[in-house]
């Protein structure tokens, strides 16, 4: 295993052509053949231009066909979410609704629905806070102090966290929670989820911390600030975008997580929204579509808002280590 890669600054190296950069271009097929005279070359160029025009037309048609298919593929399942909540009599097919807001009232009166959204907020918020606070402390220390085995440790943890994400360690997690009396406790869910999210969070944040200048910290130290004060008054404000990224990321992860709360919580009034969705049935044992579709919409709105906020504020793009 190699140690984790060196940090690279946010700015991309840009297009600085070097000798090796130019190399692959030469491969692009030049027409082989007898040494061409001028006439031959002219005709060849004409033919190539004709071919290029035809190719362009075909490419245009192909492009729009492909884009239409992609749009259809990705929007088709979403249609139902857009229409069913407002339909007086929703079925499973997306059709023009008989407009009503009655479904929202029914949902409001359902004892578990609204409470489960509250539970989701507790779980997501608690985990988010815990992950941001612990990851910030750890990432800062790991960024500034060379602890023995640091790189190896980070790398192994990262690999482990992407592998042991709940499903594989289901049985012992369940046992552990039982032993620690964390079954049916929201704290248990928060702790388990935090443990799983922390390695990646530390890894991302360390990237941010590595990229911040040390000079402020040094001058603060000259004026006698304690490490904790430096952390609070200098480091945290500087890396705030990183902390926001981690916070949003953790919240989104927990908000959609089904398995861990499903595994660890027992009583319905503790269930978060992800689990409660599977309990909406009518008296006849049929899935209650009015309730489910409306609830889906309410449950999705916070993540969509969060996504819009992040993408307008920071741009929903890869940054940090991704560029190179």
């Amino acid at each position: 295993m190699t140690p984790p890669p060196a940090h690279s600054p946010d700015h991309a190296p840009g297009a600085v052509p070097t000798a090796s950069d130019a190399a692959p271009v030469a491969v692009a097929a030049a027409p082989a053949g007898p040494p061409p005279d001028a006439e031959h070359r002219r005709r060849e160029a004409q033919r190539a231009a004709g071919r290029a025009g035809a190719r362009k037309a075909v490419a245009g048609i192909g492009f729009y066909t492909f884009v239409s298919l992609v749009l259809a593929f990705f929007s088709l399942p979403l249609l139902w979410l857009a229409v069913a909540p407002f339909d007086a009599n929703p079925g499973l097919s997306a059709s023009l609704p008989e407009f009503t807001l009655q479904n929202f009232r029914v949902l409001w009166d359902n004892p578990y629905a609204m409470r489960s959204l509250g539970n989701s907020v507790i779980l997501a918020g608690g985990t988010g806070l815990l992950v941001v606070a612990f990851a910030a402390l750890a990432a800062y220390a790991l960024s500034r102090v060379r602890l023995p085995g640091r790189d190896m440790l980070l790398y192994v943890l990262l690999l482990l966290s992407s592998i042991v994400t709940g499903t594989a360690a289901m049985v012992p997690l369940f046992n552990l929670a039982t032993e620690l009396r964390l079954i049916d406790s929201q704290l248990g869910v928060i702790l388990v989820l935090s443990g799983g999210l922390l390695p990646s969070a530390i890894f991302i944040l360390k990237d941010f911390m590595d990229g911040t200048p040390r000079s402020y910290e040094e001058s603060a130290r000259v004026f006698g600030a304690s490490p904790f004060q430096i952390m609070r008054d200098i480091v945290v404000p500087v890396v705030r975008p990183g902390l926001a990224t981690i916070g949003v990321w953790s919240v989104a992860q927990v908000w959609g997580n089904f398995l861990i709360p499903f595994l660890l919580l027992r009583s319905p009034d503790q269930y978060p929204a992800a689990v409660v969705m599977y309990t909406f049935y009518t008296e006849g044992g049929q899935a209650n579509l009015a309730l489910i579709s409306t609830f889906s919409l309410l449950y999705s709105v916070p993540v969509i808002l969060m996504f819009l906020f992040v993408s307008s504020r920071y741009g929903f793009r890869f940054h940090g280590g991704i560029k190179r």
């Binding site: 749009l71 592998i163 702790l191």
Partner: protein, 325 residues
């Protein structure tokens, strides 16, 4: 912790992310060494401790416990629940000769190859490639829709797909004029593969969009002027430059898909175990049948397979790095 979800990306991309190209103006070294705030090792360890405590308790410890449990006949209920016996490698013997296990393994490989390696990566790349020079409403619409599929909670999107694929009132049957086709029963594996492509293509799309930003347009232009077709451009100009991103992408989406529990919400492993991929298999063995020891042994096998996948990609990445050095 569901396999694919917003900005999992960042964590993953950092794995390979930077190749440490030395740059003027980059912070010296890797950020190690200069202890600007005067933390000192002991206090630094104190800063790391809370996070490590949680990681050890809820990540490392369960992982090790899984290994131990796999050697016992531990049960959820009954005599063996109170008094589990160490049975050595019996569970592994049983798993390796169990048809249901090999069935599950084959299904998982189909699922990973079909939905992640072929589906998400190819579709994600195709979108990123075709949209690379576009700006404006079309690109924003496509990207927003693809991303929406990725950021919505998995419980919600499974319901959307249940509604889409329903036998009687589903939108797909109405659209294709194939009433009464029960997609989830007749084509269960194909259904969850397409479902997972839909759900996860966004990550590949974003990663490749970023990667394509590293291919100088002038090189593509030169290749085009020299008469190279799209395929030749991709092979000779684009892929040599984004090979690292491709490998990182494949590694992450393979692992995520391998560990993805979401298809359970769609088909619950059925019909007749035809979609019983590994995570679903473990869940059913351990918590539905209550055979915790056997379930743990399969978990260990799954961890090993994950590790092999990871190591193969790592090796490819390193070879590439050495070749370019």
């Amino acid at each position: 912790m569901p396999a694919t979800s917003p900005t999992d990306s960042d964590s993953g991309t950092s794995v390979n992310g930077s190749k440490g190209r030395p740059l003027a103006g980059a912070p010296a070294g890797r950020g190690g060494g200069s202890d600007a705030a005067g933390l000192g090792r002991r206090r630094a360890a104190g800063f790391v401790a809370p996070a490590m405590l949680l990681i050890i308790a809820f990540l490392l410890f369960p992982a090790l416990w899984t290994v131990y449990l796999g050697l016992t006949d531990y049960q959820l209920t009954g005599f063996a629940a109170a008094n589990p016996q160490v049975v050595g490698l019996d569970n592994y013997d049983r798993a390796l000769s169990d048809d249901r296990f090999s069935n599950s393994l084959v299904l998982t490989l189909q699922f990973v190859l079909g939905s992640a390696v072929l589906g998400q990566a190819v579709l994600g790349f195709a979108i990123a490639w075709l949209m690379r020079n576009r700006v404006g409403a079309l690109r924003r619409t496509v990207e927003a829709l693809v991303l929406l599929a990725w950021i919505l909670p998995s419980s919600v999107i499974t319901f959307l797909w249940i509604a889409l694929l329903d036998r009687d009132g589903g939108t797909l049957n109405a659209l294709l004029n194939t009433p009464g086709t029960a997609w989830l029963l007749e084509y269960p594996m194909a259904s969850i593969i397409v479902f997972n492509i839909w759900k996860g293509a966004a990550f590949s799309m974003m990663l490749y969009a970023a990667a394509l930003g590293n291919v100088p347009p002038s090189h593509l232009e030169t290749a085009r002027l020299a008469g190279a077709g799209t395929f030749q451009q991709l092979r000779d100009v684009v892929f040599p430059r984004i090979k690292g991103h491709v490998l990182t992408n494949l590694l992450l989406i393979s692992l995520w898909t391998f560990n993805d529990f979401t298809p359970f919400l769609l088909t619950a492993g059925g019909p007749e175990n035809r979609t019983e991929i590994m995570p679903v298999f473990i869940y059913r063995i351990a918590l539905e049948s209550g055979e915790l020891g056997f379930g743990a042994a399969i978990s260990v096998l799954m961890l090993l397979i994950n590790l092999v996948i990871a190591l193969v990609y790592m090796r490819l990445l390193r070879q590439r790095k050495e070749a370019s050095a």
